[in-house]
Symmetry: C2
Subunit: 114 residues, 2 copies
DNA sequence: AAATATACCTTGACAGGCGAGGTATATGGT
DNA sequence: ACCATATACCTCGCCTGTCAAGGTATATTT
């Protein structure tokens, strides 16, 4: 397992929902976008990516359809649903509170003098 | 699984090392401190806590000894090692970079106009 | 012909978290 | 005397997300 993977764990769904928020996309493209945004420091492994799609579709957060490519490899496009937008909002809020919580738990406390 | 548990996953070791950084402590006390710091919003489950101790001791990040309580339940105290301090420093740095990375991946991008 | 890029998918294993259960000592209430 | 509660430790086995490894297919470049 790579260095950051344990810390990124649990954010996969949020990352995907964020990627779909402003428009439909497909797995390969979403992953390329992630690599670009992180300057190649992070990518979703394919198995992780596609199992996340399954999970999200089962939960009703996204829906999918086959693209009508006449050339090249076929693409399965994903759309974020209204439920998915709500999930995204909730996950964002949870992240903000988790972030503060983690910071307070792992930073060393100043010793209170006097 | 509780709401935040997936987001906290992977931080257990760092939290424990932070708790031991300024002095020896034992499982029950460390967990109480976590509950206090988070105003009861978070706690390490016992199974999680003790399996983390095993992991950290095996890795050489902490060492342990039995307290000499003459009354009450026995306590196993843990000490952070020099290796553990280095691990803590590394995990903190990783957290800072992961935090920035996650933020950039899950926040919605402003549409660039013109 | 072979390598590379695009694009999807499945299987099986691993690791961390955790529910459930167990052990033991001390205190306070009835 | 009995019970609940708090303190304090431990183990077993399951669940879930991640991922290495493998597979399929089309199109382009060398």
């Amino acid at each position: 397992m790579s260095i950051t993977s344990d810390l990124l764990r649990g954010h996969t769904d949020t990352i995907i929902l964020a990627g779909l928020f402003t428009g439909d996309s497909y797995g390969y493209e979403i992953n390329k976008a992630i690599q670009q945004k992180t300057n190649g420091r992070y990518e979703l492994k394919e198995a992780t990516l596609y199992s996340a799609f399954r999970r999200l579709e089962e939960a009703g957060d996204i829906s999918s359809y086959w693209g009508d490519e006449t050339t090249g490899a076929r693409r399965r496009y994903y759309t974020i649903t209204e439920t998915g937008r709500e999930t995204y909002t909730r996950l964002m809020a949870e992240w903000k509170s988790a972030k503060a919580m983690i910071d307070s738990l792992i930073e060393l406390e100043e010793k209170k003098n006097g």
